[in-house]
């Protein structure tokens, strides 16, 4: 029987998810986990707080530093805000440090100026697209309940015109699981995407009443992922990377997956809101008991060493007892803490999906190895 293992032995470089405008957004996606929060009020991080954060973060950590710029819709902070960010980063850069900026946007506000800025400063741009027009416009709506598909496609076109190939995040809901083949084909053959990831909608605490019934089940996610694997194999493009398939594959061959929900390094991340509030992740914003501190009145060092954060890191490390006998323990780490049933120490809701898909892909890999051997 496997033992429970220590998962996050040290802090390493902490990775911030910075909500520069907090929940303020120009879209009203029906599944958004900020729907119960104020998305109408224009809230932008003050210059004073931004400078405090950048200075302290770059003082605390060395090596490769990451800044994940998030929202709401982060472009609503305006281009001068981001010009100030790169100015502060340049001013505080020390020997041995390298910076990677990542921004996640709905792409509806991207124009030539934004694209030029991202290209000039080497920002990684992630765009949220749920699939083809039918899938995307099912939930990703503007204030007037109109679909956002055309605006997003225009944004991607502008990015590409400037030599930026965005990563794509697809959100999977109950309704869209029926369109798995259409959406895969859209991404690969119409949009020409080489890399994308899938976020599954699972409202564990039923926070979003408007989306009751849209949380996907183990059966739906298992079927979806197996179909994606089959289509990925049939496409047979060595450069085609689907984040979930990559994560499962890494675990099967005994390597550490890249995603926080597989590799057990969840506590390396923290979320910073426009007003200075710090949480473990923006998926936990509704949980006040998990607030690590407030950068407007505390130092970043004090916040990251706060009892709440240290307890969170310990809770993340403590696996559910069912994990002890699971062969995929080190490849799964009990999944996302926001999707654990009954709290951080609970069992990952998609445990059955993980086990089934690990087994499915492992069999595919063994078939491949047999074929390789037979072809020698």
């Amino acid at each position: 029987m496997a033992r429970l293992v220590t998962l996050t032995p040290s802090l390493g470089v902490a990775i911030p998810i910075i909500k520069v405008v907090s929940d303020f957004c120009n879209l009203r996606c029906r599944y958004c986990f900020y729907n119960t929060r104020d998305q109408l009020t224009r809230t932008v991080m003050s210059d004073e707080l931004l400078e405090k954060f950048v200075v302290e973060y770059m003082e605390l950590f060395s090596g490769h530093l990451f800044f994940i710029w998030h929202g709401g819709e982060p472009l609503l902070a305006g281009l001068p805000f981001f010009e100030r960010i790169v100015e502060l980063q340049r001013k505080n850069l020390k020997e041995g440090q390298a910076i990677k900026n990542v921004i996640q946007t709905n792409a509806t506000l991207i124009d030539d100026k934004w694209a030029e800025f991202f290209k000039t400063h080497d920002f990684k741009v992630g765009v949220s697209v749920d699939g083809d027009r039918e899938s995307h416009d099912h939930f990703r709506l503007n204030h007037g309940n109109g679909g956002s598909f055309d605006y997003v496609m225009r944004g991607i076109e502008i990015l590409r015109k400037h030599g930026i190939e965005p990563g794509i995040i697809q959100t999977l809901t109950h309704d869209n699981t029926a369109r798995v083949r259409e959406d895969f084909s859209f991404f690969t053959n119409i949009l020409g995407v080489k890399r994308w990831g899938v976020n599954d909608f699972r409202d564990v605490n039923a926070v979003n009443q408007a989306m009751l019934g849209q949380s996907i089940t183990n059966e739906e996610l298992t079927s979806f992922l197996k179909t994606y694997i089959d289509m990925w194999l049939a496409q047979d493009d060595g450069a085609l990377q689907i984040r979930e398939v990559e994560n499962f594959m890494a675990g099967i061959v005994g390597k550490k997956a890249s995603s926080c929900t597989f590799n057990g390094e969840c506590s390396r991340y923290f979320s910073l809101a426009h007003d200075g509030k710090v949480h473990p992740c923006d998926r936990h914003l509704n949980r006040e008991e998990l607030q690590f501190g407030d950068l407007s009145s505390q130092s970043l060092s004090d916040i990251l060493n706060s009892p709440t954060r240290l307890k969170y890191a310990e809770d993340v490390k403590t696996l559910h007892p069912d994990c002890a006998s699971c062969e995929w323990q080190r490849a799964c780490h009990n999944g996302c803490t926001a999707h654990r049933v009954g709290g951080i120490s609970g069992k990952y809701y998609f445990c059955e999906t993980r086990k089934s898909v690990f087994g499915y892909l492992k069999n595919k890999l063994e078939e491949y190895k047999l074929q390789e051997k037979g072809g020698e």
Partner: protein
């Protein structure tokens, strides 16, 4: 050799791939995925996920790593 028959499915196009026996289905996809695990640490070590190569550093962030899922 890869032959593709393309079927117009209204708003999307579904591609059905047919492979010959000299090139096992999925072999290139799997080989690509395996190659990309090269620089990842073992999941039996306590080493944190890190940027181990210029390629990995370039790639980092493609998937909005703060919201990894499934």
């Amino acid at each position: 050799m890869l032959n593709e028959s393309v079927r117009d499915a209204g708003k999307t196009v579904i591609v059905t791939a047919v492979h010959d026996t000299h090139c096992p289905v999925g072999s290139r996809a799997i080989a690509g995925a395996l190659a990309r695990t090269k620089y990842s640490p073992s999941n039996h070590s306590d080493e944190l996920q890190s940027i181990r190569s210029p390629a990995a550093w370039q790639q980092w962030g493609d998937w909005d790593n703060g919201h990894a899922d499934s």
